[in-house]
Symmetry: C2
Subunit: 326 residues, 2 copies
């Protein structure tokens, strides 16, 4: 299995402390507060709730959606729904896409963001993470829709992973997914800070969603996840204040890094930079109880999520100062 952030047990095993600040993911540290749950949510086989679907379609602005047990479930299932195809995945980006498209008989290549335009012509499936994880790179919606048309004309797919799209909804292509061949993935884990409930949504044309639902089988979304997400997706007040707060925190992180000579890019939920001494930086932070995400493969560098509270911001500030003065 691939390595990911959020693995605090590994951190504790390697560095043996218990006061970790976990900055290794891009998950909102101020999660949506779970409402009181109906006890039957734990008990009953979780039938799909039509109200949840309506709420998701309104929030994401998509005509048709399917709830899935985290974006991960869709990433694993989509490559199974096509005959062997020529597939390219934007690079660097979230590694699970390439990992799963590399199987199932497909011919998978990686394409740097700058060369995606040309790659569209030679492939049946193009996968783009938008905004990108970890670099924050953005492809404009109009560009994506043009690629989707080109691919669809040949029976191809454009898969757009908008897991970090909730703070950039203006650039989402979810509204255009009634057309065949355009597939958008959305995550409830990041913006709402609810990675523990395992819930995401796929927006696509109804035929493809039906095939995907068959592939994934019944009862994929737990009862509690359905109840909490229904509340989160319809809570406009929380969503609005969270967008403002994340915007400010993201800028604060960018500015803090800049103050230490680090030029970073990213989204309101994380910052990333190509760090020449990536392993040393990771080690330096780990020795101070700060768990960051080290990328050693396609994207060589460091990703930092948002500190959860003022004390953590201060510890990060101190550790960065010590790094700069080394």
């Amino acid at each position: 299995m691939l390595e990911h952030g959020g693995n605090l047990r590994d951190a504790a095993k390697r560095f043996g402390r218990d006061d970790w600040i976990d900055l290794s993911t891009g998950i909102n540290p101020h999660w949506y507060p779970a409402p009181a749950l109906d006890g039957k949510a734990w008990h009953r086989l979780p039938e799909p709730d039509p109200a949840l679907l309506t709420a998701a379609q309104a929030f994401y602005g998509a005509p048709h959606m399917l709830p899935v047990a985290g974006t991960q479930a869709a990433i694993q299932a989509l490559p199974r729904l096509r005959k062997p195809s020529r597939v390219t995945v934007s690079a660097p980006s979230y590694a699970e896409h390439a990992h799963h498209w590399a199987g199932h008989g497909h011919t998978m290549t990686l394409t740097p963001y700058g060369q995606l335009e040309q790659a569209v012509a030679h492939n049946d499936v193009v996968v783009v993470v938008n905004p990108n994880n970890p670099t924050g790179a953005i492809v404009p919606a109009a560009q994506l829709l043009q690629w989707a048309d080109q691919l669809a004309a040949r029976g191809g797919w454009l898969v757009v992973d908008e897991a970090f799209g909730d703070t950039a909804q203006h650039n989402s292509v979810a509204a255009h997914t009634a057309r065949p061949g355009l597939i958008v993935l959305r995550s409830v884990g990041k913006f709402f800070g609810l990675a523990g409930i395992r819930l995401g949504f796929v927006a696509a044309c109804s035929d493809l969603l039906r095939e995907l639902a068959d592939q994934l089988g019944p009862w994929t979304i737990s009862g509690p996840a359905q109840q909490i997400a229904l509340s989160a997706l319809t809570d406009r007040a929380w969503q609005t204040s969270t967008r403002t707060q994340l915007q400010a925190s993201g800028e604060r992180l960018h500015t803090l890094l800049a103050g230490h000579g680090i030029t970073s890019s990213g989204t309101p939920l994380f910052q990333w930079w190509a760090e020449p001494q990536a392993e040393q930086f990771w080690q330096h932070m780990a020795e101070r109880g700060i768990w960051v995400r080290l990328f050693t493969q396609a994207a060589r560098g460091i990703r930092l999520g948002l500190p959860p509270d003022e004390a953590s911001w201060q510890r990060l500030h101190t550790a960065l100062t010590q790094w700069t003065n080394k």
Copy 2:
């Protein structure tokens, strides 16, 4: 997708009432009470908790286990882990097994329980539900172990679905799964009444569990599911009193049916019989707000789960009397 019990939304849509007694599943109506949860259970990416695994291995008496998002996840994944094979599934039994083994290039046949012995010789994979759902039929553990040896000698598998095995632990083969080729599925949903959390366990040799884990990908078990199950699996007092209570309730259901001329079989969690007027019985009960499970395929008949309270027992009693006097 196949039809299943627990679909109360369908019941309401067809019969338009809101006072349903749901007897359409075999899930314990007195579910394990969820403990207060750490808020971070909703928030963090759910790392696998070693304590949960230890608790499950102790409760099920198995040397190696893998948590999965409900037995269903394992049922869907296992057929993907073998090259095209000759597979037979015991019949009648839980329909999802045959449904998934029928794909992925396998040659799938159904074998009546009485003829399984002979089928072992001609197949690479044999799937048995023990105790069986919906009939309650039991294959003795010693017999299963002998079949497992025969199959393993040829690189084959015996898959034993013990989803309803928690009230018949003496007949479990989970303790013997360190050997290659014997795979046991256990469900947290039925006995603990926690179908909403999506959690089950697979017991098998470590190599197979590793392949299965790779197949299923990361973060399959939600944070809340891990916390609740850890509590449920280690609560010996609740387990003991629940076993006693389910035994008594199962006998009460059997006796109630017998009093209305119905000879049923099953487990403490459900009773089943081959009902010649199955559709009429189902319709009769639905008109009285009692949702039962109608089987029209392999097992033609009716399955009833346990009524949740005394008022429900009385409504069932009345409806049965009206059926008998029709």
